[in-house]
């Protein structure tokens, strides 16, 4: 066996070991979910129970109003993403294709919002929403994220890549700006738009700090908030806690596996912007 071959085998083993480390917590989550509490606490740990208690998922689901949390998360994720894509597409179009006074000034002003840590904005936003009596409403969960300059910025770059002649051709064909945007520009840039949409779905679904702060009412919790406070409901029942974590994680993993191409595309386009 040559030195090179030996090195290759070694490298491959490192890769496999790394992948096992990456995947193990997910496996351990599922495996613990289907154990009894005593099986879970066994030493040495059992890799997979002899009789998986799949019913744990059902019980955990009913140990707290997870149905309600799921609906909350779905509503918030869908509305936030839809609103953010809508406002961003409109703004990106204006910045990319329209001519107007103050374009650069407006762009620069809102560009600053990309550099501010959102953790810093939580206090004033909390005050604003309390004063408008929006605490514990879906609006409180959605409105602050219904626009994002990062999304505007990324979509504007995609729109800029469409040659101006296509815009002129559409004008000659009689299309208004509105028609051009929705029947030509958006379909042409659909892969960028899909990529940004999925990234926003993921970040909105996983968002924790803001939903935790604006929802005192347990009925308004989203899934991550519910999972973080689930210990209060079930104490140290780890199988139930792992099952609850599964509820949050599985939808995004399914989405990721199906739409990986777009997610990677969005990450590589957006990731190098800043």
């Amino acid at each position: 066996m040559t030195k090179r071959k030996l090195a290759n085998i070694l490298f491959f083993l490192i890769l496999v070991l790394g992948a096992l480390i990456m995947v193990f917590p997910f496996f351990w989550m599922i495996s613990t979910s289907v154990k009894t509490p005593s099986e879970a606490a066994q030493i040495p740990p059992m890799l997979w129970p002899k009789h998986p208690h799949w019913v744990n998922f059902v019980n955990a689901f009913h140990a707290a109003p997870f149905g309600r949390y799921l609906v909350n998360s779905l509503i918030v994720t869908v509305c936030t993403t839809a609103a953010q894509m809508f406002t961003s597409i409109l703004a990106a179009f204006a910045f990319s294709k329209l001519k107007f006074w103050g374009k650069n000034l407006i762009f620069m002003i809102f560009l600053t919002t990309m550099m501010v840590p959102i953790e810093m904005l939580i206090i004033p936003n909390y005050v604003t929403l309390s004063e408008t009596h929006l605490m514990n409403t879906y609006l409180a969960l959605i409105l602050p994220w219904a626009a994002s300059f990062f999304t505007v910025f990324t979509l504007r770059q995609a729109f800029n890549a469409v040659p101006p002649q296509v815009y002129y051709a559409a004008k000659i064909d009689g299309a208004s700006d509105w028609k051009y945007l929705w029947t030509v520009l958006v379909p042409i840039c659909r892969s960028s738009i899909v990529a940004m949409t999925i990234l926003e779905v993921i970040s909105s679904w996983n968002d924790f700090m803001w939903p935790m702060i604006v929802t005192n009412d347990p009925n308004m919790r989203t899934l991550p908030v519910a999972v973080a406070s689930f210990t209060n409901d079930v104490g140290t029942n780890y199988p139930y806690m792992m099952a609850a974590a599964t509820f949050v994680i599985i939808p995004m993993i399914v989405l990721y596996v199906i739409l990986e191409k777009y997610i990677i595309q969005g990450i590589t386009k957006g990731g190098l912007v800043g």
Binding site: L15, M22, P25, T87, F100, I122, Y168
Partner: protein, 297 residues
């Protein structure tokens, strides 16, 4: 159309497209930025009337003298130093290995990226179980190597290590993907001509790969730093809504949260927010400066 002078009508037309974004970002981003700065210099603030009294730097003086804030700043920097270099090196190594095995690259890439798309809170919950002192897998593995068990979540000495290991694991995938993009954008003929010149793989790596991907490495470093400065979710979960045993996991954002949400001290929390803002602003300025002067796409 192409050469028309900009008119009020066109400007109004464009503003209609911009209005939703401008209104929302003004209310939830621009106004809060200003508002945080103002709050941070109020001596007193009444939440119910949203009115402040007295202007001064008392809140910053408070931070300056608060040992808890010192702890938070120290821990935040320890966290950044613990996570960022290790994460960059490991992800570059894995990206290089993935490039070697192009046939299975897609599959492994998917696996390595999984943690990145999952909820920090939910997967941190899983890790509390892995880190468990008595029943955790990690201590079991230590035992297999005849090492003493560690109180990952209970021993204050291990708090930062616990957070750092988890955070490296969680965000590795992002850096791997971006490194792969950078590695594959290095023109192949450089490697061809280097191997004709007799360069060993290691020489090729240090003389071609490292310099050519250095812009990406730099951007990833800054981005990872910015993200690490804001660590919060995992602390909240690991230590059940506390900053760890003896506040050993106190970070700037956790401090902000604690002052704001638990102690309702809005002015000091805002001052902490301003400090965070300044730190991240410096990192962003550095990033912009370097990408303007040294990075060419």
């Amino acid at each position: 159309m192409i050469n028309q002078k900009i008119s009020w009508k066109q400007t109004l037309h464009a503003l209609l497209y911009l209005a939703p974004m401008m209104i929302l970002l003004s209310i939830f981003f621009l106004y809060p930025i200003i508002s945080t700065f103002i709050l941070s210099v109020f001596k007193k603030y009444n939440f119910y009337t949203n009115a402040g009294q007295g202007i001064g730097f008392d809140n910053f003086a408070y931070l300056w003298h608060d040992p808890m804030f010192h702890q938070a700043v120290k821990n935040t920097f320890i966290f950044v130093l613990g996570v960022v270099p290790a994460s960059i090196i490991i992800s570059l190594g894995i990206a290089l290995l993935l490039n070697r095995f192009s046939k299975v690259r897609g599959f492994f890439q998917t696996l390595y990226f999984l943690p990145y798309v999952t909820s920090t809170v939910a997967i941190a919950m899983v890790w509390t179980w892995i880190y468990h002192s008595d029943y955790g897998v990690l201590n079991f593995i230590l035992k297999l190597f005849h090492l003493p068990p560690v109180g990952w979540l209970t021993d204050p000495h291990y708090t930062m290590l616990t957070l750092i290991i988890f955070s490296i694991w969680k965000n590795l995938g992002l850096n791997i993907i971006l490194f792969l993009v950078a590695l594959n954008s290095v023109p192949k003929q450089y490697y061809l001509s280097a191997s004709i010149d007799g360069a060993t793989p290691w020489q090729q790596f240090t003389n071609i790969t490292v310099p050519l991907i250095s812009p990406t490495t730099f951007l990833l470093t800054i981005n990872a730093m910015i993200a690490s400065f804001k660590v919060f979710d995992q602390i909240y979960v690991f230590y059940h809504n506390t900053a760890g045993p003896n506040n050993s996991g106190m970070t700037i954002v956790y401090y902000l949260y604690q002052k704001f949400y638990v102690e309702n001290n809005y002015t000091v929390a805002s001052a902490a927010g301003v400090v965070l803002f300044v730190i991240i602003l410096l990192a962003t300025i550095l990033q912009n400066y370097v990408s303007k002067h040294y990075v060419h796409y």
